[in-house]
């Protein structure tokens, strides 16, 4: 597995040490320097890095980790484990109050993404907890902020309470609470104005808001691209308000997001959610383990798996599989498959989740439009052609017509035909495997067996070292 950045660094450090019988303290010191640099490059606050590397060093020494076969991988593992722990260990579950209305106030710096997050959060909680949410617009300062929230509310079909920009936020909040009670909303998100943590007037205002609303939750919204200053920001907001959780936004970028670590370390409250894109459903609960991998530049397989399982309908998948196995796979199925992929989000986003891909992607030209083009080509086929791929394969005039209809070149159509053929061939191969030999509950079992046998035999004196059969 590619542990990109950190493991590259460690391996380089180790290369300089190869040939030594054992690693000296100085070697370990050097490895810790690589860990330190790697974390700093990920924007983890240097103070946090310092205490963290100290911890790691002790752990590494205690576990006598450097005697192993591949010390660098082991160090990475220790670092990863410790990072995960520091980020909260397990995913923090969001829960509503047992009874009555749950109120939640968002706060943060300007431009961290509070308004978008307010909409995403309300929608997410509505979907997973079956509540009737209300958004309240308390940002009366930034031009058009109220309008932004209103537009988001419309897009999500979530009601927005607003009083324009001429009332004081505290008064709007009071009215909103009354309004929510009257109209039986049971989940209220208060979107507040962005403010600098050192702006005393604005911090006083939000303290007043807190006193007025008495929210069940106060979440700090932090941009994932934040650098060293994340510590100062988080600390000030936490000191002033006593935040109960936080949300990391813009994680769909290429930042490694070390700020999350600083944030967690300073506030010691769980990071609850993460923002993953401009679309209003690009939002998810925060996974410490995945974040740890990301900070280390390890890619994020788990998110990928989740995305796949969440967005793919099992029946659809089974139907598709059946078709594939029977060799009757056609362009209609191709189209279906395409839709599944697109439902999971952007292709670039998906690729980034695969370990090692991140690096390769730097040069690769992933063009999301390709999917659109393929769809256009298929949609330019007649129903007959979609069902019987052979028709197109045999007739160049059909191919030309399809190319013209979709605005693509004939070579693009040919590429698609090839693609379909390759897939069909692959599935045929798969279907030839004897299903009885595959244990449905443990498909890997058969593969693991030979190795186990060998190992078991090794111990017996008679056969040791020899391969007699």
């Amino acid at each position: 597995m590619a542990f990109d950045q950190l493991s590259d660094r460690l391996q380089m450090a180790l290369r300089r040490m190869t040939g030594k019988a054992r690693l000296t303290d100085k070697d370990i010191e050097e490895m810790m320097r690589e860990v330190r640099l790697s974390l700093l490059e990920a924007d983890v606050n240097f103070k946090v890095v310092k205490s963290f590397t100290q911890e790691i060093k002790e752990k590494a020494l205690n576990e006598k980790i450097l005697k192993g076969l591949n010390p660098s991988q082991q160090v990475v593992k220790v670092v990863h484990e410790a990072l995960k722990e520091l980020l909260g260990g397990e995913t923090s579950v969001f829960s509503l109050k047992a009874q009555g209305t749950t109120t939640l106030m968002l706060t943060g710096l300007q431009g961290s993404g509070k308004t978008t997050t307010a909409g995403k959060l309300a929608q997410y909680i509505r979907k997973h907890h079956k509540v009737t949410p209300l958004l309240v617009a308390l940002d009366v300062y930034r031009p058009a902020a109220v309008e932004q929230l209103k537009t988001i509310g419309e897009q999500l079909n979530i009601d927005v309470f607003e009083k324009g920009i001429d009332s004081k936020p505290v008064d709007i909040a009071k009215e909103a609470l009354l309004y929510a009670e009257k109209n039986a909303y049971n989940f209220i998100v208060f979107d507040t104005a962005g403010r600098l943590h050192i702006d005393e007037d604005m911090m006083d205002e939000i303290k007043q808001l807190k006193a007025t609303i008495d929210p069940d939750e106060i979440f700090l919204v932090l941009d994932a691209m934040t650098g060293q200053d994340a510590v100062s920001v988080a600390d000030h907001f936490h000191q002033s308000l006593g935040i109960t959780g936080s949300i990391i936004t813009k994680l769909d970028g290429d930042t490694r997001g070390g700020a999350a670590l600083s944030l967690r370390k300073v506030t010691d409250v769980p990071i609850k959610f993460m923002g993953l894109g401009e679309k209003l459903d690009a939002f998810d609960v925060f996974h410490p383990e995945r974040m740890a991998s990301r900070i280390l530049g390890m890619g994020d397989v788990l998110t990928l798996i989740d995305k796949v399982t969440e967005n793919v309908d099992e029946d659809d998948m089974m139907n598709l599989m059946e078709k594939m196995m029977s060799g009757k796979y056609n362009y209609n199925d191709f189209l279906k498959q395409l839709k599944m992929i697109r439902r999971m989000g952007s292709l670039g986003g998906l690729m980034k989740l695969i370990p090692g891909m991140n690096k390769m992607m730097k040069n690769a030209d992933i063009d999301e439009k390709q999917l659109v083009y393929i769809e256009a080509i298929i949609r330019s086929m007649t129903h007959e052609e979609r069902k019987k791929p052979d028709l197109i394969k045999r007739s160049s005039s059909r191919r030309r017509r399809i190319a013209e209809g979709s605005g693509r070149r004939v070579s693009d159509v040919n590429k698609l035909i090839q693609n379909l053929e390759q897939q069909t061939a692959m599935f045929k191969q798969m279907s030839k495997m004897d299903p009885n030999q595959i244990d449905p509950h443990n498909p890997m079992k058969n593969m693991a067996l030979p190795q186990q046998n060998r190992k078991a035999k090794k111990g017996k004196g008679k056969n040791r070292g020899g391969f007699r059969f």
Binding site: L37, L40, E41, A42, D43, F46, K47, L109, Q110, G111, S112, G113, R142, P143, A144, A145, V146, E147, Q148, L149, K150, T151, I152, Q155, L196, H197, I198, D223, M225, T226, G227, Q228, D229, A230, V231, S232, V233, D235, K250, D252, G253, D254, T255, R256, G258, A259, V266, E278, S346, G348, K352, I366, D367, E368, K369
Partner: protein, 333 residues
Amino acid sequence: MACDKKGKIGVIMGFIKQLFQSKKRKEKAQKYNLGMAKTRQSVFNQLDDLLTQNTKISDALFEDIEEIFIMADIGVDTVISMVNQLRETVELKKIHNAEELKEMIVEEMFKRYVKEDVVDTNLDTDHPLAVLLFVGVNGVGKTTTIGKVAHLLKQKDKRVMMVAGDTFRAGAINQLRIWSERVGCEFYQKEAGSDPSSVMFEAIRYAKEHGIDVLLCDTAGRLQNKKNLMNELSKIHRVIGREIDGAPHETLLVVDATTGQNGLSQAKIFNEVTTLSGVILTKLDGTAKGGIALAVRETLNIPIKMVGLGEKIEDLEYFDIEEYIYGLFSDIV
């Protein structure tokens, strides 16, 4: 121990003071000082933590210097190469006293920033119709910056028009419109969801006909790893260039001072797509130092043109490297 600590504080204070002896400089720096040094007691008292050991030049001292720079978000690579340069010079010149390091640090920073070049922070608006394009990731303050720049240009009696190129984000068009009303300048928009390139195209035609001097083009915030959005930006850039030779005359990357290492990736990719002429560093009135902008200059040779220092319309200043360095260490002095 305490005495050693003082010694090291002395080193850094010394070179700051040296930089800002003159009264004039102090006054000039006052705004930066106000902006950047509001919190002197940040979470961890940097100095106590940073400067703990001796005044002799040691590995520990170099590491401390490294940390001061890293804390300011100057890129790790830049910091390492800078400190390595210092190490080399120290060895070469056989310097033993930490005192002497101070001049070297200042020199090194200036050298790296200025690059034996004249750094021009002026915005290039001397054209019949100057077009300034503002780009950046989401939430950095592009729209607010345009408001401030418009105000600045209006003081210079320029006829300014803003173009609402962010047709995507909810409320973005109105946000810019409200700024244009505050400034009292012209404003061009199409309905939300329009193709931003066509907005630019029409705005340029309109501006030509109506004797506008400077066109300030807002664009939607976009993360640099979104290929489609970057393609869209490339098209905007191309369309502007097709309408007016040599335009956009400035393509300015707006960077939030709180941004960490990602700022470098932002500058690199935006530069590939639009050829940046400068960086505008916003929100420097917080506790963030915006050091990543130095790394941008160092690695990509893109100068910082202006800095945003507050929420008011006049809180925008031309960048001054000396004042900036002062700001970097203002907590410490």
